[in-house]
Amino acid sequence: MAAHDVMPDIELFQPVTVEDASAIARRLEGRGWVLAGGQDTYGWLKDRAKTATAMIDLGTIEALSGIEETADGVRIGAMTTLRTVSRDPLIRERYALLAEAAGKVASPQIRNQGTLGGNVAQDTRCWYYRRGLSCYRAGGNICYADSPEGMNREHAILGASRCVAVSPSDTGTALVALDAVMVIQNGGSVRRVPAAKFFVGPAVNITHMTVLREGDILTAIELPAAWAGAEHYFEKVADRDVWDFALVSIAAAFRTSGNAIEDARLVCGAVSCVPHRLNAVERAVIGRPRSEETAESVAGLASQGAKPLNFNHFKAPLMENLVKRALRS
């Protein structure tokens, strides 16, 4: 009786191979909730806004954890904890941008339990949606956040389409900046999706934040050698320094030759439904040094096209300030 008072009855599957996990997911036809570290999942259940009748726990699949060097970079198992990612010597040495981003997720307790795969696949934190209201994302036909009285300080200023929720992932920005590749297995077939295409906005699919579909298991994330050891900058601005989601974050990577930037990636988090790549800024900085002058001259490009809502006008200048900081140091 006591157990029943905390959790609803859930059928729990603990497969030991990815193939089994995928097969169970397909057999359950959408009823199977794929569980990684549980840090997003349990919140939904506790708040009673979503319920699950069956869960597929990936924690029992050993092959999904661990970090290894490959011929073309590094491969991180999707079930590797955020703590491991943030502390791993190889990641810290070659992809410090990702280590920093992973180290800024939530709190130490959550990083001990939360996984890199879970962090990129987590659901949005729009408070209307999380409360269980029937909004566009939940299959309804209204956006509460974008209504005249909606409270939308945390919401999108770019790339919105009916839904104005943002991607809450701190590591997603770093992975897009590093041209990471997401390895997805469904049954026996494996496909590789660039991080930038892994996340999808509401114009593409309003009820899913990623390309993951029924039976898809995100198994690994590959970081290409091309960005190993690149100069980088990461900053997450939030109301609190721990256990909070970004108001705006930036992940930037630079390859330089002499003083000049040869190639750059600048990606902002929490401004759009997907990690938002600043293409115009990236183009504008090629051939220039990381300097105050470069920072000042290109920062204005960062928020081009922004359409702020009532309470989030601050995000555009904040993006610009973060771009400046990324280009200065």
């Binding site: 009786m1 006591a2 029943h4 008072d5 905390v6 609803p8 506790k46 708040d47 009673r48 709190s107 934190r125 408070w127 999380r130 409360r131 009285e149 409270m151 300080r153 900053e235 601005v237 939030a238 109301d239 609190r240 320094d241 721990v242 256990w243 909070d244 989601f245 108001l247 702020p308 009532n310 309470f311 006008h313 601050f314 200048p317 904040l318 300030n321 973060l322 400046k324 900081r325």
Partner: protein
């Protein structure tokens, strides 16, 4: 004395608490208990058209569903604040029903209680209760509530004004203002906070054999027992037993019983089984009393040299939809007793309009009125210093009530008995290296950051109810048992009172057993609140202990065949004054239990009466130094210095713990915490994701020290330490932020100082967060 008063003794209660063997209310499970869930109003304001409980009643596992119609025999939640305005009109206090009657007046108001076999079944069924209302406009904003055309929450009363409280002399203020060389005005928000004890509220109600037993977190079981017996059930006091095991934080709001606790008892009586209710965190945001929520305009008149001539403070105070147990007392008299705080003010006028709005009722929260009063004066002092071009420490120096003027009777007729305000401030300035600030500011400037330093001086009037009782018994094995009417919901009374008794008796610390929080054993007491436990419970304990020693002396004299006057007592031994014979405290206790000595044992009950209208005056100076990043608005607290005068420090570890806790709560209010209702009256901050409680990252290393100025009116010399941090931190931090932003032309900002607000201020943007 290793474990005596003044020693840094580690807390006796901690091994139990940190190993999970403490017993909180949710740890209580009785055989065959049922579970209750509450269906709450999703509407801020409306006339109830119908409450359809059919689906809930038919749901799996449901045993009963109650609405207001089913509990007509019960009274409402009482308010014990007795207030009259200057014309003699009493404060308007509407009935606060346990379950909504006729109207719903805030989101989260209990509408129906569902009892089922399991908690999940009860919660599932509660979601099936269908409430239909005819919507009424929601009144959320204080200014709107006060407007003549406002929708009225309690129609029969005709307006939302509960009381217009006044204090001081308006004509004297007008005269002072007319004569002033300088006038300084501030307009302030004291933001609404959700106190959020770590332990969400829970209750287990059990009615059996004509007795109600309630397990419930509290700040002292008596207040709850009295309310349940007299106001709600109309039953004799002795038919209700309230037991509080461990309570995971009180902060004022656990000082009162909430409707759910009474409903578990009602349901248990009706169903013949124990009934348990446990709210979850979001439910706490909706239904645990809130704190603060004032809008204040203050006006300070000064002479040429910066000496205050008078002050006018006008406040709109939000009561919520109904009065909590203390409701209108907090913004009026609780703070009003020390309005004007530590400053000599020849004239003072204080006006508070207490208003009803469609929000959760507001109750006492750490400091209850005193932090609000201090915040007003400290903001005024800084603004005056700025406008007059005087140092912020100097203007305070010129206006402090000097210790030579103590006792000092203030405008509220309260006699401030002791305090060395200037010396305490100087100590804080020295420890904070106030003089060396400019060097540190330049270093920050070089890094592109804005640095500021700020000061907050506070005083409280503490003590709460003027009576407290303790019973001390010595067992035949020489151990002591102490029963006291105060209540420790985390502070460490078990340790502090043991220290006092260890001192009094000269017995081992671990031979003292502490009992609190159960009305079956503790017969009288005022509970804990208003920094009263050490000064009230502490003295009752000490005097009861001394009474026991005297009782024992008479027994010892007989045993030693001598006169009590010849018997001395030291370290658990009675001796004849010529040292020719002795008898131990344990032997005396054993003898006292025999028929020869009446068989009552060695025990003494002492009821300490401080005297109505008297208080102690904890006070202190807090200095905060902050750095603001103008690019992001992120504020970093570089340094925090607290010098508190809480009278005698019984245990420096416990006292420092209270300072830390108070500072972090004050810091939370100043920087992050804010309960937000939207304009329609919906609560937006319903979880810890949306309600920004500070985390460890925000907490600076607090430099804690004490200037012990002993209270002249009690023999321990204690004043209280529970609330000072919550009083000192908000003005210290906000003044520091304003100092940092001064170079950007910012002269006013309201709590909470979120990064966005600071960033807007630093960049010359409107502080209004809504664009357009």
């Amino acid at each position: 004395m290793k474990f005596g008063v003044g020693q840094p003794v580690p807390r006796l209660e901690d091994p139990r608490l940190i190993t999970g063997s403490g017993r909180f209310t949710d740890d209580v499970n009785l055989p065959d208990q049922l579970y209750m869930a509450i269906a709450r109003s999703p509407y801020p304001h409306g006339s109830i058209a119908s409450i359809d409980t059919d689906a809930a009643e038919a749901a799996a596992g449901v045993v009963a569903v109650y609405t207001a119609a089913d509990i007509e025999s019960l009274g409402g939640m009482p308010c014990r604040a007795v207030l009259k305005d200057r014309q003699g009109n009493p404060c308007f206090i509407p009935k606060r029903p346990l379950l909504a009657e006729g109207r719903v007046r805030f989101v989260g108001e209990p509408v129906a209680a569902v009892v089922a076999r399991t908690r999940t079944e009860a919660r599932d069924a509660a979601e099936l209760v269908l409430l239909e209302v005819e919507d009424l406009p929601a009144v959320v904003d204080l200014n709107a509530a006060a407007a003549a055309e406002a929708t009225v929450l309690h129609e029969a009363h005709g307006s939302n004004l509960a009381i217009h409280y006044e204090n001081g002399d308006e004509a004297a203020w007008e005269a002072a203002a007319a004569a002033a060389a300088h006038r300084v005005q501030v307009s302030l928000v004291n933001n609404r906070v959700a106190p959020s004890p770590l332990e969400p509220r829970a209750a287990v109600g059990h009615y059996a054999n004509g007795t109600f037993t309630l397990y419930n977190p509290s700040q002292g079981a008596f207040a709850q027992q009295g309310v349940l017996a007299r106001a709600i059930f109309d039953e004799p006091l002795e038919s209700i037993r309230v037991i509080s095991g461990e309570t995971g934080g009180g902060f004022g709001i656990r000082g009162e019983v909430h409707p759910e606790a009474a409903l578990t008892l009602f349901a248990s009586r009706a169903l013949g089984a124990p009934v348990k209710w446990h709210g979850d965190r979001s439910e706490m945001f909706l239904s645990d009393s809130h704190g603060r929520d004032n809008l204040t305009r203050a006006d300070l008149a000064l002479d040429e040299s910066g000496r205050a001539l008078g002050v006018r403070i006008e406040t709109l105070a939000n009561l919520g939809a109904y009065c909590s147990a203390v409701g209108p007392f907090v913004p009026t008299m609780a703070g009003g007793r020390v309005v004007g705080t530590v400053y000599r003010l020849p004239a003072l006028y204080h006006s508070v309009r207490c208003l009803y709005t469609n929000t959760m009722p507001v109750a006492a929260y750490r400091g209850a009125g005193r932090p609000e009063a201090c915040y007003v004066m400290e903001r005024l002092m800084d603004e005056a210093a700025r406008q007059l071009g005087i140092g912020r420490d100097e203007i305070r120096r010129r206006n402090f009530i000097p210790s030579s003027a103590m006792p000092f009777v203030n405008h509220s007729g309260v006699s401030i008995s002791s305090g060395e305000f200037e010396a305490t401030m100087d100590l804080a300035l020295e420890r904070a290296d106030w003089a060396g600030f400019e060097r540190r500011r330049r270093r920050s400037e070089g890094l592109g950051r804005l640095r500021g330093i700020g000061l907050g001086y506070y005083v409280e009037s503490s003590g709460g109810g003027p009576e407290e009782e303790a019973r001390v018994r010595i067992h035949p094995d020489g151990s002591a048992e102490v029963i006291v009417g105060t209540y420790s919901h985390g502070q460490g009374h078990e340790t502090a009172f043991a220290q006092i008794l260890s001192d009094t008796f000269g017995i081992e610390f671990d031979k003292i057993r502490f009992i609190q929080g159960d009305t079956a054993f503790v017969k009288f007491g005022g509970g804990t609140g208003g920094s009263r436990s050490s000064q009230m419970g502490g003295i009752a304990v000490k005097r009861a202990g001394e009474g026991v020693i005297e009782q024992g002396r008479a027994v010892a004299a007989e045993l030693l065949q001598s006169e009590p006057g010849r018997v001395t007592y030291e370290a658990a031994v009675y001796r004849l004054d010529d040292a020719s014979a002795q008898v131990s405290l344990a032997d005396v206790a054993r003898a006292a239990e025999t028929a020869q000595f009446g068989g009552e044992g060695l025990a003494e009950t002492h009821r300490y009466d401080r005297g109505a209208g008297t208080y102690t005056f904890p006070n202190g100076a807090h200095v905060a130094e902050v750095e603001i990043d103008p690019d992001t608005g992120v504020l970093h607290i570089c340094r925090y210095t607290a010098v508190d005068d809480c009278g005698r420090v019984i245990n420096p570890l416990l006292a420092a713990g209270q300072v830390h806790g108070g500072v972090v709560q004050g810091l939370g209010q100043a920087l992050l915490e804010n309960v937000v209702y939207d304009t329609d009256g919906q609560l937006l901050t319903g979880s810890f994701l949306d309600y920004a409680m500070p985390f460890a990252d925000a907490m600076p290393d607090v430099d804690v020290s004490f200037n012990e100025v002993l209270d002249p009116n009690n023999e321990l010399g204690v004043k209280g330490i529970g609330e000072g941090g919550a009083c000192g931190a908000p003005p210290a931090l906000v003044n520091a932020a304003l100092h940092a932003l001064a170079s950007r032309g910012v002269t006013a900002i309201d709590m909470p100082l979120t990064p966005e607000k600071l960033w807007r201020a630093a960049n010359g943007l409107s502080l209004q967060e809504r664009a357009g």
